[in-house]
């Protein structure tokens, strides 16, 4: 029996002001006074793609040291200063950008802004925290050294994007981290932290004037232009290949993928709908979930989704199945991918997929921090605030024809590059 439910209104509850500060910085602002706090998120283009191959992890290490002492404050003094006012601050490095987030009670805004300014403009990179944080990253690498998911992921990326930064692990290796010197950190921060690559969102109990003052205090003194090295388009390798990594575990961890459409491709949005129906994360009605998990009990997790980066795009999916049935699991998943590639979606699948993607969009905006993060994400995708509404309009406009064309272009003949970790039977 097919039931119909009213589609949730696609209106966005988020009202974004695009503000230019007196210092000349553009940022997106969402005033929201229900809770007396402010969330700020920022991103700077560059990221791990700027890491030299022999010093992979440089961006991650640099980001990890921004809150480990700045200005007059050494590491302990800086952390104590954060604690005194309950200011939360963290920094990260993604593949195409690095960034950070800060959250504070509105009453502590001035101190929070000052601490953010110090971290962004005057990190000390002292010897003690440098060695400590590097050792911490080393420990994490050793901890994950034989983790099946980490092994599969690292191998798959390295073999899919050889000779490209996307094939390098963003958190480096024991060898590459060991090669990094303090001068590298200073250089990375000086070259990368600049106003022309900066994206900012501020959300919370704050008006335009105060938000602009916060943004200027933290970022206005940064150099005008970043010195980024050009990054080539990432060519995809390994289609049709299956690599096996032997590990003495009862399950086989399978990761697979192939090249896909980039964000600026006219069929991109239609391909996102196709991937959602195929194996969207959290989609308990997806084809892969139904065929691999529900019908056959082959796995607890199974997924497939697109990653669209600045210099390449790919489909990436996987599942984890006991060794004896690993081949069956892989074959079932591959067959579904081929089917979507060849035949697209059914009318019903398309409509349901669209309704879900449209209706679930507001759920990404239910806390100040999540709103700030989404707004920076949209800026990183080089889109305007109108995207908050346009996104759902574009999804709504996907047709049977466009989704079939997009699926065919994105999944091609359905061939995959695959890595299997474990003791799989049948491979």
């Amino acid at each position: 029996m097919q039931k119909h439910f009213p589609v949730s209104p696609s209106h966005s509850a988020v009202n974004v002001d695009v503000v230019t500060s007196p210092g000349g910085l553009r940022f997106w602002l969402v005033p929201s006074y229900a809770v007396p706090l402010v969330s700020l998120e920022f991103a700077i283009r560059g990221g791990a793609a700027q890491d030299p191959a022999e010093k992979a992890g440089l961006g991650a290490l640099t980001a990890g040291l921004l809150d480990e002492g700045a200005g007059e404050l050494d590491s302990q003094a800086f952390h104590r200063a954060l604690d005194e006012k309950a200011v939360e601050m963290s920094f990260h490095c993604d593949r195409d950008h690095s960034g950070g987030r800060m959250r504070t009670l509105i009453k502590n805004l001035d101190r929070a802004a000052e601490l953010l300014r110090l971290a962004v403009n005057a990190p000390r990179f002292d010897e003690e925290p440098f060695e400590r944080v590097r050792e911490h990253l080393n420990a994490r690498l050793r901890h994950d050294a034989n983790d099946p998911g980490t092994l599969a992921n690292r191998n798959w990326k390295a073999k899919s994007f050889p000779h490209h930064p996307y094939g390098q692990p963003a958190d480096g290796t024991l060898e590459t981290l060991a090669r990094i010197e303090r001068a590298d950190l200073v250089d990375a921060a000086r070259r990368g932290m600049a106003r022309d690559q900066l994206m900012i969102a501020v959300v919370g109990a704050i008006g335009e004037k105060d938000a602009a003052a916060l943004v200027d205090k933290a970022f206005a003194d940064l150099p005008a232009k970043a010195k980024l090295k050009p990054v080539a388009e990432a060519a995809f390798a390994g289609l049709g290949a299956i690599e096996k990594i032997d590990l003495d575990v009862p399950q086989s961890t399978i990761r697979f993928g192939r090249p896909a459409l980039k964000r600026d491709d006219p069929d991109f949005i239609a391909s996102v709908v196709a991937a959602h129906v195929l194996g969207g994360s959290g989609n308990m009605t997806s084809r892969l979930f139904r065929e691999v998990r529900e019908k056959r009990g082959l796995a607890y997790t199974v997924f497939g989704t697109f990653y669209s980066l600045d210099h390449g795009a790919y489909f990436y999916g996987g599942t984890t199945t006991k060794n004896e049935r690993a081949r069956e699991s892989f074959d079932v998943a591959s067959a579904e991918i081929r089917d979507v590639a060849l035949n697209g979606l059914s009318k019903e699948e398309l409509e349901k997929g669209k309704t879900y993607l449209i209706g679930s969009y507001p759920l990404r905006f239910d806390t100040s921090a999540k709103i700030a993060s989404q707004l920076v994400h949209i800026q990183l995708e080089r889109r305007a605030p109108e995207w908050l509404v346009e996104r759902n309009r574009e999804i709504g406009a996907v047709t049977m024809e466009s989704v079939k064309r997009a699926a065919h272009r994105a999944f091609g003949d359905g061939s995959l590059h695959t890595t299997v970790v474990g003791r799989p039977e049948g491979f």
Partner: protein, 431 residues
Amino acid sequence: MTSSASTAPHVVNFTLANGLDVVVIPDHRAPVVTHMVWYRNGAADDPPGKSGIAHFLEHLMFKGTKRHPKGAFSEFISEVGGMENAFTGNDFTAYFQQIAKQHLKACMAFEADRMTGLILTDDIVAPERDVVLEERRMHCDSDPGAQLGEAVQAALFTHHPYGIPVIGWGREIEGLNREDALAYYRRFYTPENAILVVAGDVEPDEARALAEETYGKIKPRGAKPERIRPAEPPTVANRLVTVADDKVEQPGWQRHYLAPSARTAREGEAEALEMLAHLLGGGQTSFLYRTLVIKEKLVVSAWSYYHGAALDESRFIAHMTPAPGVTLEALDKAFDRALARFVEDGFDAGDLERAKTRLVADAIYARDSQSDLARWYGSSLAIGQTMRDVEEWPARMERVSAEDVIQAARGWLVHKPAVTGHLTPLVDEAA
């Protein structure tokens, strides 16, 4: 109807005629609601020999009812762009959805329906049992760290079911069947045993009317199901549990102490333990971090955690990662030394002040997330705490004194029997 304003403004609670407890947390910032149902039963209520049944049933709750065939509820949530999930703990099982507000009633109707209408057949139960076994293989059987965690728990709780993993032991999961699931379902899935939490863009009166129209129709059973669990006997034994595996390249160290939970503690004791965990090992300004990471450079990370949110006697935990070349045996001593110094020398008034600032701020930060608030209320009520317990928590933390913290450390940690866990690479002695 009671209402309070200390942690979240205008939180309202009431009980329906059939015994279902309801909490409403209004938050009108976005046209979204979080809808959760918490059952006051978890893995620690699994019958002997049937470990994993609470968690297995949680999976089976998605398999359809008399009124709604398998997948209909999930399809509905998916079609309206909602999110859903469920989780099982030692003391509770919870189901939640996040949806646009106009779908709240339909969502309530589905959830109320599966409180009593579940239908299970063998051809549905069997593949789902395989899914759970794969879940176990993935999270436990392929990861030496997780295997150590299970062994440490089993050593700490020798008799109480907190010693059994929530997902269950593999051999017992293999034996679970339809009858086990239904028997457990009939015993615990009742209005008297459930707590409904609705957070988001809804007024309490409206939520109440909707709850009465849906959940209110379920017949009461007359009494809450009883949770009968054996008590953990006192012990004087220290235990060392070791997992050596050739997949381990980074050794790890942990220690677990028995400690009262928020339910079993004397007044103020759980708060003192919480503060102790914060001052001893809560972040980079904590005592363990300053002493063992920064000063002595014996470890690269150190943290401690107090698990107060439990029905029965619970645990206090410390974890450390050794620096290269430092043995786990050296960490046994280093931790004891650090703990002794913490108790003898105490800490600065400023440390306690900063910890309190942080905890009070956390209560405000929590108000930014309707689903976090819903979780906080739901999990607290599910272990038998009251609305007042939840709302007065920041005020009670403010009252913790330095003396209370030291007393808690002396009372539960210093020279107390504990389980120490060592995760090490496999060294071939013969080689």
